[in-house]
């Protein structure tokens, strides 16, 4: 039995309450015992521009984009053309709009959608001080069968600061909206609710929580869209669990502060986006060479250069993998969905600490800034700790970069009387003395590479979906594209196809042998959100796939939709 779902979208000028309406609905859906995935879109304006939200609602966990909106509510039509790609309206959609604001745009007149006009000016006139978005909440809730009690509960919490009068007035408006239109075969009323512990969380918050769970004690960052939310989440919280956040003067400072704090013995991280990652490149190599643990979360946006700051793309992959001069082996991870942000960030902290290296987590705008009702993410122990020189250990000659069996050397933390050393970005001997000898260089290169390749990453390296029957095809993907790939494949499999999925979380070191084994004798299809097929070429270059593998690579900011992915798979298998 597949899952039930219904999708809605709302658009209007900034200040019209689009996002507020979206958050109220999201929270209410959670209260009602269901799941939903909210994505927001905004124009480039700082304040007052047009905005839109889409909500994909289900009785099972959901984090995919809907191929079309079942219901769209336009508070006005100002700037809607900017979202006509992101907010999919088709002949299956029902469009409701406030006719007292604007007429239906030309582009929507002939798509065959059901059109319902409402006059909110008239409604607002009847309830003094009420707001248009409250009627919209009510109307949409009524159409999908979301219970009024669940809405009341969420507005009481969300609008607590606005006062009782505001809540009463607008809840009255919600109630009026609820019954304003004819009742439909209300979706949610027929579904079975789930009241297991669930969370209302954004991807960037999930990343922040993962950092806290991983024991991060220091963050330094420079503001950048769409990563700043992570730092804003951590700033008021980290200081209450023995940590600190520093606002750096630029990204070069941020990453160097992180390295300094980590040298001081504390797990440390920064969060940035593409342009910031570019600025950090030199210091990323320093973390690798000096074997100082450091975590960098890159919430990717459209590039190159300033690119598209507010929209998503998976195109920092090449840079995260190869952005440093010299040979700088490190770890690159990517979460697949919102809850995964918690675990992957926590794992990233642990790996950086245990392997004394740089870890880059590649999130993206879609993963970071979407908000969803998800199952609560249980606490997990990875058992990854930094190997330090213990106080009772006595060294005749302490060697910071000593060669060991697992290639990781105990690190002396400042304050320890027996472990003086100079951390260095210069190539060095095991003792840390600068050296330009070929022997020392080769020895240390091997050490830094092998500590990563010899490590057992367990099952976390990828999410693998196997079809019930022997498959003939396998989709290889990563990052936020995964949720729509998963939906596309599970739907096809339910219709008689036999397709597997590998969604890679550990991008470096790439588990090429494991991928190769899973792909053997199958049609391999690589799906990613880039123009040039960075992931495809990476897998090819590492020998994980063969040249006959096919690539579906599409740049941001448009989302790879479920039906698009299905069309690609079907054509590939024909």
């Amino acid at each position: 039995m597949g899952k039930n779902h219904v999708s809605i979208s709302i658009s209007g000028l900034g200040g019209s309450g689009v996002v507020t309406a979206g958050y109220v609905l999201l929270k209410s859906i959670g209260n009602n015992g269901f799941y939903a995935y909210l994505t927001r879109f905004s124009g480039p304006q700082i304040r007052g521009g047009e905005s839109a939200i889409t909500l994909n609602i289900s009785d099972k966990p959901i984090e995919s984009f809907a191929d079309y909106s079942d219901f769209h509510f336009a508070l006005d039509w100002r700037g809607f053309e900017n979202f006509s790609d992101e907010v999919p309206l088709t002949d299956k959609s029902c469009i409701i709009f406030d006719k007292s604001k604007d007429a239906l745009p030309e582009i929507l007149q002939h798509i065959g959608a059901e059109i319902i006009e409402v006059d909110l000016k008239e409604q607002i006139g009847q309830i003094k001080e009420s707001r248009a978005n409250a009627f919209a909440i009510g109307i949409l809730a009524g159409q999908i069968g979301l219970s009024l009690e669940s809405i009341l509960k969420s507005v009481q919490e969300l609008w607590a600061k606005k006062g009782e009068a505001f809540i009463n007035t607008n809840f009255q408006a919600i109630k009026v909206g609820y019954t304003l239109l004819d009742k439909r075969s209300s979706f949610l009323e027929k579904w079975t609710p789930n009241f297991e512990p669930r969370w209302n969380i954004s991807g960037n918050e999930a990343c922040g929580l993962g950092a806290l769970r991983g024991g991060i004690k220091f963050v330094a960052a420079y503001p950048i869209t769409p990563a700043t939310d992570i730092v804003e989440y951590l700033s008021p919280r980290l200081e209450k669990v023995g940590g600190a956040v520093m606002i750096a003067e630029d990204e070069l400072a941020a990453i160097n502060m992180v390295i300094g704090a980590s040298f001081g013995g504390k797990p440390s991280m920064t969060a940035t986006s593409g342009p910031g990652l570019s600025l950090m490149s030199e210091a990323l190599g320093l973390a690798v060479a000096s074997e100082t643990p450091a975590l960098v979360v890159d919430v990717m946006r459209g590039g190159p250069s300033t690119g598209i700051p507010t929209k998503s793309e998976q195109t920092d992959l090449n840079q995260a993998l190869f952005g440093m001069h010299g040979e700088a082996p490190h770890i690159v991870l990517a979460p697949l969905h919102i809850a995964d942000n918690v675990g992957i960030t926590q794992w990233g902290v642990g790996l950086a600490e245990a392997l004394q290296t740089l870890v880059i987590v590649l999130s993206d705008q879609r993963l970071g800034q979407s908000r969803a009702i998800i199952d609560a993410v249980p606490a997990k122990e990875y058992g990854l700790k930094r190997k330090v020189v213990e106080d009772e250990e006595r060294y005749q000659f302490y060697e910071r970069y000593a060669l060991t069996e697992e290639h990781v050397s105990p690190m002396a933390i400042p304050g320890n009387k027996d472990g003086f050393f100079v951390a260095d970005g210069l190539e060095h001997t095991p003792a840390g003395t600068p050296s330009s000898s070929a022997f020392d260089h080769q020895q240390q290169l091997k050490k830094r590479e092998e500590k990563l390749t010899a490590f057992d990453y367990g099952d976390e390296w990828a999410e693998i979906i196997k079809s019930k029957v022997t498959s003939t095809a396998i989709v290889l993907t990563w990052g936020s594209v995964y949720t729509n790939v998963k939906e596309a494949v599970s739907d096809l499999n339910s219709k008689g196809y036999a397709i597997d999925v590998i969604a890679v979380r550990l991008l470096m070191p790439l588990q090429s042998k494991a991928i190769e084994a899973l792909c053997q004798h199958k049609n391999v299809l690589v799906v990613e959100q880039s123009y040039s097929g960075q992931f495809y070429h990476y897998c090819l270059g590492r020998g994980a796939i063969e040249t006959r593998a096919l690539s579906l690579a599409k740049p941001g900011p448009l989302v790879l939709k479920t039906d698009e992915i299905q069309t690609f798979i079907k054509e590939a298998l024909r």
């Binding site: 669990v241 940590g243 390295i259 300094g260 504390k266 609560a376 100079v422």
Partner: protein, 276 residues
Amino acid sequence: MKNGVEQTVTPKDYLSKTHPIWCPGCGHFFILRALATALASLQIPNEDIGLISGIGCSSRIPAYLDVYGFHGLHGRALPLAQGLKAIRPDMTVIVAGGDGDGYSIGGNHFIHACRRNMNVTYLVMDNEVYGMTKGQPSPTTDPTWKSKLAPHGTDIRTFNPLQVALSSGASFVARGFAGDQKSLAQLIISAIEHKGFSLLEIKSPCVTFRPEEKEWHKKMRKLNVQPTQDFMEATKNIYESDGFDTGIFYQADIPVYQPVLSDEKTVTDFEKEFEV
């Protein structure tokens, strides 16, 4: 204390066995010794010292002391040091580097380190030249000095680090001279003891690429004014100095940035915020 006998630390206890890569006669040798003397005088345990540097001749200094050192990136010593200090306020954090490292490639960090005014000591070993890359003009090089890179001189006015430090918010601004070890050690002591960001600009002759700097010892003189905490007076004194005055130009008791760490909550408390 060892076997009940009071131990007195000496400058030697801070010096490592590694021999500096510096040229014979380099001013940096004297700064190294003055620093060891200052540390011994302050009796700071070796393990509580973080000596952070960037890249350049002077930035090699951490290896020459038995302390915790970080020889980081060109121009990035200050942020690295501030990250360390933020999370390890118990440590004595000293940054050392050259004029190119601090005033050119690290210029932005210099301004913001002054502005933050963390309790960090910054020793700039200024020889008015890029020595490691064999003699190019730096921000403090005289505009008429001719080199391969600038055959007619740079024709660009010199950078005044003391003035910039003062106006950016540093709470201790001083100049020292490598050739006057005793006064220099005393200035380093004052800089370390000062609560806040201390800039100690140290004139250090580069005998290889700027042999004319050997004559500096004839020109350097002690400042004939007392340290002041009056910003305007300090500005005037710095502005009027020809660059050969040594001493403390400014020392003020102004707010020091240091994150306050507390343990009032647990991560589980924050997880509750997400509950539906």
